[in-house]
Symmetry: C2
Subunit: 320 residues, 2 copies
């Protein structure tokens, strides 16, 4: 028997991982499917690095470094020190413990194992009960179109520190990639209760997932309400370049702009109390709204927001 | 103008690296060519590991851990801890700093760069003036024939801790491999003054080098005396399984047994004072002998033994 997925969460890295952890806390392990963006994945010196997938995995395993915001806690940096000394590029930092994941995964990929299967193995090793899958087992590469030309995502994000103004995005390989079958199956199930778009970057964390063949149609057709949590609060992104990107694209960096970006994908939108004044602007587009505290500082914040999102979805199902 | 190599040193790992460092201290950088065994090299999770080459490189750079006997000093172990946690094999330890070398080199090899060129780059980065080359840019794999069947060298040496009794050795790929051109050119030069076989394991450190096409003939024909320093002192190896191997092959583990093993390759043999009583047994085979202190504890020991070996070679040239 395949598990009955009640909730699907779409996630990028840090912000998404926070709500994914909240959902994993409040739902039975078989009820939740977390789908992570892999458009950020890249090859660095023969190592396949999957930043969003790993951020979610480390968060679910309680291994994440909350202060730094990426990588493992209690990390050492002996590799990077020697790597730089020997002439290796220094712009992408990899901790010694984090490196173990990349070395193992890269070898398993070369052995012909799928990223989904490797992710399941690693999650089992780390004692993660929730199901976490990459959006696809096929490579998709997010490219950021900027004033400095097109940049591979990590070059834009890490090497260039998001400095070059953006003009657009493309997801190389997306049209040929197959969305994760477990993801598509969960969206097609009649007993699905909610799809939660976590507060990750709409352009570079969520859009790569939605761009996969069949995903937009499946999200639109699915039985469950699709909710998004705004990554923009009071005009700012909690973390990362989302607000800057909205502005550079000539859009307001605001919760309503996020809701408009997702457009007809959405049945519900969760915005922060700080943006309560903009609730009507969002509701006017025909999307149900929930105003609450969306900034997740503690584990209690994460589980409370997860509970509220699920209750919101239940109300939307009741009123459908 | 190509450099004038006056001395060629053949080296395995730790013992060889000690005398290689001594020679590098007493000779001008262009006068010495150190040829390292690469029969121990292997692929571990996609990383190309070259234990002997790296032991020599770290020793020449002053980065070696003298107490542990392998790897870098001031090393951290975050990678191994996480690697084991995630299900990676634990039998082969790689320090965090050491890993940088393997990641960089593996990527350069995938880029199509030769091991010789990569070694030169790394040596330059580490400020090593002496010339260090791998015995070949082609893969050669030492296989140890044991009572437990044939074992890849690192499986025998590290995983099985040299426990299975040995019955022989083979060097897979050797017949097809090309000896390093700089090595062959140095042996062919008329002004070569000495070939020094360092006190490394004859079976698994030196024989792989000698097994390469053309090397035995070049050593026999070369203008300079070929000297070996005994890795066996008072019946024991200073480090590693050499004495155990002699015994398991039904041979005495003694300095004369080492001299007989090298046979007509040798013009001179350097043995320890502890074995002075066996000098005549070696001399009877027609090989010139030098009895001295061969156990290298300090840098002063290394340079003194290097000086003595070079003076011994000069005497042999004078008497030829």
């Amino acid at each position: 028997m395949s598990p009955v997925t009640r909730v699907v969460a779409l996630s990028g890295g840090v912000g998404g991982a926070k709500l994914a952890l909240g959902l994993a806390q409040v739902l039975a392990s078989e009820a939740l499917l977390i789908v992570a963006n892999t458009g950020d994945d890249f090859d660095h010196y023969g190592l396949r690095v999957c930043p969003d997938l790993d951020s979610v995995m480390y968060a679910l395993a309680g291994l994440n470094d909350a202060r730094r915001g990426w990588g493992r806690r209690d990390e050492s940096w002996g590799f990077m020190a020697a790597f730089g000394e020997l002439g290796g590029e220094r712009w992408f930092n990899i901790g010694d413990g984090d490196l173990a994941l990349h070395v193992l995964r890269s070898q398993r990929l070369r052995d012909g194992v799928t990223l989904s299967a490797i992710t399941a193995e690693l999650c089992a090793r780390l004692g993660i009960a929730a199901r976490l899958v990459p959006m696809s087992d096929d490579p998709v590469a997010t490219v950021v179109e900027t004033d400095a030309g097109p940049l591979a995502f990590q070059h834009y994000f890490v090497r260039e520190r998001c400095a070059p103004p953006v003009s657009g995005f493309r997801f190389d390989g997306s049209a040929q990639a197959r969305a994760n079958p477990a993801f598509l199956a969960a969206l097609a199930a009649e007993d699905l209760e909610a799809v939660v778009i976590t507060p990750s970057n709409p352009f570079v964390s969520i859009d790569p997932i939605v761009s996969l063949p069949g995903v937009r149609a499946a999200l639109t057709a699915c039985a469950a309400p699709v909710l998004a949590v705004s990554p923009i609060v009071a005009g700012q992104a909690i973390k990362g370049p989302a607000a800057k990107m909205f502005a550079e694209l000539g859009l307001p960096s605001s919760a309503p702009a996020v809701a408009r970006h997702y457009g007809d994908l959405l049945d519900g939108f969760i915005l922060d109390r700080a943006d309560a004044a903009q609730e009507k602007e969002i509701a006017a587009t025909g999307v149900a709204t929930l105003v609450t505290d969306t900034v997740m500082r503690s584990l209690a914040d994460r589980t409370r927001l997860a509970d509220e999102a699920l209750a919101f979805a239940a109300r939307l199902r009741g009123s459908a």
